[in-house]
């Protein structure tokens, strides 16, 4: 059941927090299973987890309105995808190479989307989605339908070094489009640490450079993430132009599941950035009286079963058949190369 802008605004803090936590939990349980399927040889290619980034991602996704807004998640955004309404089966099918689902074996893992529903399918080239989301918003302005909508995309600290990021954010700023760019600064781009990635003091400085309003948030702090994302998205929706949120956190896993992240120093893992946002969130929910301990355990059980069922179903799906595949890159067959 799609939410509406109003319903987001009308949600109480309690309802919002519970909703986001459930999305985070689904993401964590789903990704844990995916990792395990990968390590059992069932998934080819790679598995890329958002472990430690669920609070940032899901709180952003929860502020977006399915059916109205446009969202371009990146590789560590299962939380955001789930909060935005992606069904578990889409993820399961894409990872497990099913002939069904949005990508039908033509693309895999996190390279999936439902563009017709406003969720873009990322390409591997980082920063490329910034301008695409901006273009979608530009179209809505030209169509006279921009009022009350936003577009959002997530990137990491590494992607802020790409030309595409700069070009896209600048172009969006020039057009004053309601674009929210969320930078999850998880300290490492694959294995490259921040000090080899950028020389400015804070990535937030970049927002200033483009005339974009910036927000800084502790990405492990669940309630802070909720508050900041709500504010940034609302500001964009009100016509405040592009917003950029920089979340500080630590990637609690390798770049992908093939990477043991042995390059991450212990001091970081044991420090404040190393705390798990899931644990923080659970604690905050209970502390604020938003949920009971027992309730959290029930959710774990309930969502775990839902995830397991989707993965089991996806494994029973037919695999793509090269003989039946439509080997056609054009949508209009008459433009296809007859002699190719």
């Amino acid at each position: 059941m799609p939410d509406t802008a109003e319903s987001i605004e009308l949600l109480t803090d309690r309802e919002h927090a519970r909703k986001v936590y459930r999305a985070m939990l689904e993401a964590r349980l789903l990704e844990t299973k995916l990792s395990s399927l990968y390590k059992a040889g069932k998934i080819v290619g790679g598995v890329y987890l958002g472990k430690g980034q669920e609070a940032v991602s899901a709180s952003l996704g929860s502020c977006l309105i399915p059916g109205t807004d446009v969202f371009a998640p990146l590789i560590r955004d299962q939380g955001g995808r789930t909060a935005f309404g992606e069904e578990v089966i889409d993820c399961a099918r894409t990872y497990l190479g099913s002939a069904e689902g949005p990508m039908r074996g033509r693309d895999g893992n996190i390279h999936r989307g439902r563009p017709e529903r406003g969720m873009l399918a990322m390409i591997s080239h980082l920063g490329a989605a910034v301008s695409v989301v901006a273009g979608w918003l530009l179209a809505r302005r030209l169509q006279g339908r921009l009022e009350g909508m936003v577009g959002a995309t997530c990137i990491g600290d590494g992607a802020t070094s790409t030309g595409a990021f700069h070009e896209g954010l600048n172009a969006a700023a020039v057009e004053r489009l309601p674009l929210v760019v969320v930078v999850a600064n998880n300290q490492f781009a694959y294995s490259t640490p921040n000090d080899r990635q950028f020389a400015c003091e804070d990535l937030l400085d970049r927002a200033k450079g483009y005339g974009v309003r910036g927000y800084s948030v502790d990405g492990t702090d669940f309630l802070a993430c909720l508050r900041v994302m709500r504010e940034a998205v609302a500001e964009a929706r009100r016509g405040g132009g592009p917003q950029m949120v920089v979340a500080r956190l630590l990637r609690l896993t390798g770049h992908g599941e093939h990477d043991d992240a042995s390059y991450v120093p212990e001091s970081l893992k044991c420090g404040a950035l190393g705390q798990d946002c899931m644990a923080v969130a659970a604690g905050q929910l209970v502390e604020e009286g938003y949920a009971e301990e027992a309730e959290l355990a029930e959710w774990q059980e309930e969502i775990g079963e839902k995830v397991q069922a989707a993965l089991a179903a996806a494994q029973r799906d037919p695999k793509p058949d090269p003989w039946r595949e439509q080997w056609e890159a054009f949508s209009m067959p008459q433009t296809g190369d007859q002699n190719a």
Binding site: P115, E116, S131, G135, L138, A139, A171, M332, D337
Partner: protein
């Protein structure tokens, strides 16, 4: 009263903006300034808010167009020079080109590339990029050679649901004139016999069609050779039916292009004719392209860098003597 090639492009965009509310134009200096080549002159005033200046961000320009197309628009992007599309290469080939196959949702963008050399424009304002884009799946690449094609093929490109790279030749902008625009044009993907003949076929596209016709005229006057000239019009898809039918009539092929010689459209044409039409050939199929150096600045060097009627005649005589 006559209409130039660039006028035809302007007219086509005017028509598109007038007839299709989904169309908008995006590019550098195209709004009130009217574009570096005046291909959008007056359109910003006629269609307020639909002819937008972009920052000098080719990657973002195409990214914006892709997003807008996914949201239901039909953007036409003007690259100021085809050469600069290298900055947008990733968005064109990896984002627009793969999108339909990956997601089932096509990306109806049209990217206008002012292509090819003119005297004095040098290494970075003279390139022909059609081969690069044709190499990638999912992109339609058109190369109009006539005033009417410049007009109609731009309308057809925008009508297509798939991404189109529209290569317009800068040398033809003002040099090429027609008394009027034809009422109709063949569909995209169909080549045309520009000049019928029986002794050899020259397959060309864009400005080289005109150089081929001049060379053919000369060979006719000097030696009585009758050379058929095929204008590919669209380089991807490639109309091999027309090419093979022509080679079947003549038995000899020269594939002619202004782009760099390594690989490319002419190589593709020769490869296809050699493998699909070997039995049609009286002589080894031949290619003729520009030289394998950057495009030089000075007009003397530029004229010797690209195929000219004189050098095309030399190549043809070699082909005809085999």
């Amino acid at each position: 009263m006559s209409i130039t090639y660039v006028d035809a492009i302007l007219e086509a965009q005017d028509h598109l903006l007038r007839e299709d509310p989904r169309v908008f134009l995006y590019g550098q200096d195209i709004s009130r300034f009217g574009g570096a080549f005046k291909a959008t002159k007056g359109l910003a005033e006629a269609y307020p808010g639909r002819v937008l200046d972009s920052p000098i961000s080719e990657d973002a320009m195409i990214g914006m167009a892709i997003g807008a197309a996914l949201a239901g628009m039909r953007p036409v992007v003007e690259m100021q020079f085809a050469d600069f599309s290298s900055i947008a290469f990733n968005q064109i080939v990896n984002h627009a080109g793969t999108h339909f196959y990956r997601t089932g949702m096509p990306v109806p963008i049209t990217v206008r590339l002012p292509s090819g050399g003119t005297p004095g424009s040098g290494p970075f304002h003279s390139q022909s990029m059609e081969a690069i884009y044709s190499h990638y799946p999912g992109l339609v690449v058109v190369t109009p050679a006539t005033v009417s094609d410049a007009y109609h093929m731009l309308l057809q490109s925008v009508a297509l649901d798939d991404p189109v790279v529209y290569c317009e030749h800068k040398f033809l902008y003002r040099w090429l004139k027609a008394s009027s625009i034809d009422r109709e044009a063949p569909p995209l993907g169909q080549a045309r016999i520009t000049r019928p003949g029986k002794h050899a076929t020259i397959v060309a596209y864009s400005a080289m069609v005109h150089e081929a016709v001049r060379a053919a005229d000369r060979l006719k006057v000097e030696s009585g050779w009758e050379i058929e000239v095929v204008d590919l019009r669209t380089v991807k898809p490639l109309d091999m039916d027309t090419v093979l039918a022509s080679v079947a009539r003549t038995g000899r092929l020269l594939a002619l292009g202004e782009a760099f010689p390594w690989g490319g459209v002419t190589a593709e044409v020769v490869a296809r004719v050699a493998s699909e039409g070997f039995h049609l050939l009286d002589a080894p199929p031949k290619r003729f392209n520009s030289r394998d150096t950057p495009v030089p600045y000075h007009p003397n060097l530029w004229a010797a860098h690209r195929p000219t009627p004189e050098t095309i005649c030399l190549a043809m005589r070699e082909l005809l003597a085999f």
